[in-house]
Symmetry: C2
Subunit: 353 residues, 2 copies
DNA sequence: ATGAAAGCGCTAACAT
DNA sequence: ATGTTAGCGCTTTCAT
């Protein structure tokens, strides 16, 4: 009558015990069968699977996590879900993780205050994530510390930390950005501006450096007013372009730290009745889906979210599995590369004579 | 020496037992204190909290879920994370849920095959979500069945099901769409086209019906070629507009089932050298962030993701809590309303004489 | 108001 | 190869 006594009854959800008794084996055998561990004889294994099917049984992940110490949950922290780059990145990561039997704990809210970071870390810790991909491209050192102190493997983008549990994914921005600069130079541009991202983002700083060295290699003289701060948002791009518009010596082309910025630039140029690409060439970075549909379609530097997600997952997996196979050493922090490449569309053209 | 014996040692993460012994109380008292249940004397409570702080303790959610039967996880299924409407919706939902102590299990992948739905449902079931917000705006009846059979509360958008565990959020598309039609009529338009969404989406069907009744009320005669199928994607909008362009009797304005479609339309119009809004007025629906930055900025029908997220969360919470307070009856399926309203920007103007 | 103890559903020794 | 059993860390009766 009491709930406790219904254990072997047909009421409620099937138990590992329900399966065991239906298959006429011990619960250990059921567990082994499910986890594919130690050889279970074909005969019993078959009986077990059959019982599982028949009962529509699936294990209780909480019980499993509790006893095994493995949650099979991975955390992912992104910067700003408002930038379409990130949702696509999450979707890719999710697909890969789920295919490998991991669940995802996503933190998509805009991270601004330290308190918010605190909350996120807490959520991750409470749910016992086995690893976290920090794809904010920023310098959330405080996140790292807390998580690392708890021994949780991390993978970061563009930021190297001297800790065996932290892997870094290096993105080869240099090639894409060099291609972009060369593309512009070949078109005849000499006066190229750059709308930078937040200085707090490692990736934004890297992008900026790549721009500077690429233009240097091409022998371009970039006036410092042509390098203006933006913040990777639409409005930031618009404001940045407006600053450029106010300059005495105007650039004929502008490369943006990301696509959101570039879309803002397109908007500002249009308001100023400056024709793109005839009077101004614009290049973005990320290749978000919208870039094909801007007016004109945006020339941009492609960065594969799928490659990035893959690299992040693989890096995490290596660490997580090493942690669970005590025999193996922790692999040294690994670096994965993902590359970038120019995608020429219609926002670039020779400068007006 | 063995891991088991380290329990009361300072090694490793603090236990409820560690807290109990530090505070010189029983583990039951620690549990009660944390859960704010049954009165614990101020004196002990203080000691417990102090120990918790000192040890930086937090409870193991898996153990908690296992024994209490409550996971404090809510599922959310969205249609297509590529449409910026959804990430913003997720972010809002996450913020609200986390503020109420729930974790989120997001399914962001594009749902296409039945197998994918199967996987999602399985993930939700395995992690023992307490409720699921199905914001696909679609007709995933199969999802519903499985989840409902397991007694999990659901909240759907735009689709009513006769089941006490399923709530519906009704969105008042009628007012926004009526405003849009009237706006166009006031501008002098009589020939208004409509780019519809997938017929499998309840919300898309509702939007279409609202368009039809609004134009009827205004005494407009809408040729059936002006109502063309699209699919809520950028490319779909582009293709739909191209069809409209091929018509002998062309419309002077087009209302789109969502903003993605409208952005596609803008693109197609530009390619056809049709000036917006001078030669064609365009209206979208959703008010995603990009609409302020399209060329020209898009007039659209605003639908608050925050209101929607709020309604979805509240509906779920009512159900979930009723389930955990055996005294109460299950409330009847509740209906929450969220409204829509026209946001006039620059993609609409009087038709050319 | 507080504590002792049972047991949530499972995995992993340890036996056999 | 299979079964028995001791917990994983917590909540929740049930005593006191």
């Amino acid at each position: 009558m009491s709930p406790r006594s219904t254990r072997s009854t047909s009421t409620g959800k099937p138990d590992i015990r329900t399966v065991a008794s239906l298959a006429r084996v011990s619960i250990a055998t059921v567990s082994r069968t499910i986890n594919g561990s130690s050889a279970v004889s074909d005969k019993l294994s078959k009986r077990v699977w059959q019982a599982i099917e028949q009962l529509n049984y699936f294990p209780n992940t909480h019980a499993r996590s509790l006893v095994s110490g493995r949650s099979r949950i991975l955390g992912i922290i992104v910067e700003n879900i408002t930038n379409p780059f990130f949702p696509e990145l999450i979707a890719s990561f999710e697909e890969i993780a789920v295919a490998h039997g991991y669940e995802l704990l996503v933190s998509s809210g805009n991270i601004q205050s330290a308190a918010q970071i605190e909350t996120i870390v807490r959520r991750m810790l409470e749910r016992k994530v086995e690893g976290v991909a920090v794809l904010t491209f920023g310098s959330e050192e405080s996140v790292l510390d807390q998580l690392v102190n708890h021994g949780i493997p991390l993978v970061l983008a563009e930021f190297e930390v001297n800790n065996p549990r932290v892997s870094t994914i290096l993105i080869d921005y240099a090639s894409g950005i060099r291609e972009a600069v060369e593309h512009l130079v070949n078109l005849g541009h000499r006066k190229i501006a750059y709308l930078a991202g937040p200085h707090t983002l490692h990736s934004a700083e890297t992008r900026l450096h790549c721009f500077e060295s690429s233009t240097a290699v091409c022998g371009l003289r970039i006036r410092k007013e042509w390098i203006v701060d933006a913040d990777h948002t639409l409005k930031g791009g618009e404001a940045g372009m407006q600053r450029l518009l106010g300059l005495k010596e105007r650039p004929t082309a502008v490369i943006c730290s990301n696509d959101m910025t570039a879309i803002g630039v397109l908007h500002a140029a249009h308001q100023a009745r400056l024709a793109v690409p005839e009077e101004l060439s614009v290049i973005g970075l990320d290749d978000i889906a919208f870039t094909e549909f801007t007016l004109p379609p945006l020339t941009t530097i492609g960065l594969s979210r799928h490659a990035l997600a893959r690299a992040a997952f693989d890096a995490l997996r290596v660490q997580v599995e090493a942690l669970n196979e005590p025999g193996e050493h922790m692999p040294n922090q690994r670096r994965f590369e993902v590359t970038t490449t120019l995608i020429a569309r219609e926002s670039t053209a020779p400068p007006k004579a």
